[in-house]
Symmetry: C2
Subunit: 428 residues, 2 copies
């Protein structure tokens, strides 16, 4: 009585799943209580060698996911269609599902979870955010008795690698991107990573889990990538004892009535546990009411780490099926709305090249005050004719900060706005 | 149809559990699918004000745990007895159990898990190791499809606080301990923490989960505390780009046929993610075959963080009961034996005050070679009549390293063995 698995997709992750299921067959059987077997693998072409038993291959994914002997469907195709239709068909046929598909979960998680609840099957997706790091199930299960207030995550390895190189070598963005591409950390078309689309999908999934609010999708996420980050920004950050990281931030509003979900570059103090996350590693920092500060760290991508997360889900789903149970998710919806980025409270770091003459600082300070933004820190450095003025604001609505910067840009005493970036503080 | 909880113990953690269950009543009900209610609280004396409904208090714990209306027993008394008898009685009466009791789990986890399996009830214990950090369930569940090779943990906040103060202020052990006591980070009798007993109990629990080997108890753990760590050791570590941490280390042997479980001070390179864990924080670093390197970080103790972990377990256990299922643990036993500390492969840092004359280095090198230990690094600093010789070994069996040090101590050219400590490396 083995547990039969249908695998959709057999690329880098899929072939690793097959390898691990075969290699660890005995151990998995002991842990689950029954053997796990690959019953079929849906691929686009069956004539390529994938290192798997060719008899398992089929191009007919639709038939595979409803085949009576299949218990669990593992989807590692990615993208919205045909993944969504196949998963819904599998659920409709009473199969449990394990997926690594962040784009689909971010766009239509609510539909999928509702279908799984109705069918009484599992839908697990640990691999969709932060690869191998056990994160989603701890958020869903271990913190189920707590109230999460904020999640800050480095959830895209490519951009973290690029920013880390810029920081450690003083390299520019283009140069660092090219290096990341040469090493296989970045795609030939890097848009999804460097423009923050990948991180935004993950942010939507994290927000849904952290705040039990089911309607958040990737479209609700305010998104800024790292293509505008300059060597000057990095140097400015260093001068303040900070590093620049691309963060996914999910945050409950002060009054608890809404949530903000955003992805953008941030200057982060070196004391912050996320600041030390190097290269292509991922880490997610969680602030919960009772648990306090938590961090989860590890490899965010790669075939084997992602396959490890898929296998962990597969074991859980198999155990649940043996026990005749399933974990339903999304049935409890706080319905918290997502507020606009303009209402999100942030702090700004602004570096200005200004004319070095009397009255400049007072004029700049007045512009901040006009928008109701107070200044936490000013540093002035004279440089011949010009001076550089570096200001860090206290927290204020992002819209107020944005219009402060717009006014600064328009002012005749300001030669150039050399660097603008949001700042996170870290106090004990 | 509420889920009724019997609470054993109402100290710092217990009273926080009551407060959270009451304050988050609505949210918990929505997440679980039914209300969670405290049905009774067993305490030693009922005449003290604990901020809970006095009608719930009883001194008759034995009757409470078998009361027919009770579904789940939460044990936060600590210690071996009466906790063990009460938990076994509860399990025997078909109740699920949530406990924070590391000492009991470390000493007799096998008995408790077997009883829970037989009765078909849950036994959850997330709070017993690393407080609020979701760690045990991720190890058990999320990594169920992976093979863990090594676990390195800072699992005792008191000793981490003391070592952190010694490192950042250059203070001595006694002074730092006194400060920790004044701040409530250390007990009046600090033995359990500073001698490593607390960490050893947690190491046993981690080894059992990581390697699925059920017989490991605290008595199998090689244990050295931090009372012998000097300001000189800390300075020596700094000179090598290291910090000193008390680590719990669980490691599969090279051939996979046995495991080593130990607690001792370690010099850890600053690049290691655990090196940045400050103050009383805890963190556990896991090396798994497929997932690679993972780290879990957060508050390791304190009433509210620990209560958060208890509540997470309580929600899981309540959901399982509603679904008519339970998670059995310990049924799969790899039976891997624990090998002796002497067979554990480690590296040593040794600082020697030696006579500054020809032949010393060659003599010292010969002593290392006699024990089959090769040297990775030597640094010599002349100091007038004497010189200090700092050596770091390559990995070797601990017994060989120990006898190398014993021979060095006995040699006439060695004035003093100034510092001996194990070293962990961290390579990419």
């Amino acid at each position: 009585m083995a547990m039969k698995v249908a695998l959709l997709g057999c690329g880098v992750v899929g072939s690793e799943v097959v390898r691990l299921v075969n290699e660890q067959s005995e151990e998995l059987a002991a842990r689950v209580g029954t053997r796990i077997e690959i019953g079929g693998i849906a691929v686009r072409r069956t004539d390529r060698d994938r290192g798997v038993d060719p008899a398992l291959l089929t191009t007919d994914a639709a038939s595979l996911v409803t085949r009576p002997d299949i218990d669990v469907v593992v989807e590692v195709i990615g993208g919205i269609e045909p993944a969504r239709s196949l998963i819904l068909a599998a659920i409709g046929a009473g199969k449990s599902v394990v997926t690594a598909n962040k784009a689909l979960l971010a766009e239509d998680g609510q539909t999928l979870h509702a279908a799984a609840r109705e069918a009484g099957v599992d839908l697990y997706y640990e691999a969709s955010v932060a690869g191998a790091i056990p994160l989603l199930r701890p958020l869903r299960d271990s913190l189920a008795g707590d109230r999460v207030n904020r999640v800050l995550g480095i959830v895209n390895g490519t951009t973290n690698y690029i920013l880390d190189r810029m920081d450690s070598l003083g390299a520019g963005f283009t140069e660092s991107l090219e290096e990341a591409q040469a090493l296989g950390y970045a795609e030939a078309d890097p848009t999804a990573d460097v423009e923050g689309f990948d991180a935004a999908a993950k942010a939507a999934i994290l927000a849904r889990l952290a705040f039990h609010t089911q309607k958040v999708t990737a479209a609700d996420v305010h998104r800024e990538g790292i293509t505008g980050v300059t060597a000057g920004d990095i140097a400015s950050a260093r001068a303040m004892g900070c590093v620049v990281k691309l963060l996914a931030i999910c945050q409950r509003s002060e009054d608890g009535a809404s949530v903000g979900v955003r992805v953008h570059p941030v200057m982060l103090p070196l004391e912050h546990p996320l600041a030390g996350v190097k290269e292509a590693y991922n880490a997610v920092f969680v602030e919960a009411e009772s648990a306090g500060r938590l961090m989860f760290y590890g490899a965010g991508a790669g075939g084997t780490p992602t396959a490890s997360a898929v296998l962990g889900d597969l074991v859980a789903v198999a155990r649940n099926r043996l026990a005749g149970t399933s974990v339903s998710e999304g049935g409890h919806d706080t319905g918290l709305p997502v507020h606009d980025m303009g209402e999100t409270v942030t702090s700004y770091h602004v570096a200005l090249d200004v004319a070095d003459r009397p009255g400049v600082l007072s004029k700049v300070a007045e512009i901040f005050a006009d928008h109701g933004v107070s200044i936490r820190n000013v540093r002035q450095e004279g440089r011949g004719e010009d001076a550089q003025l570096v200001l860090v604001s206290h927290p204020a609505p992002d819209a107020a900060l944005r219009s402060t910067v717009a006014d600064l840009r328009g002012h005749e005493m300001v030669r150039e706005v050399a660097s603008v970036m949001r700042v996170e503080t870290f106090a004990d």
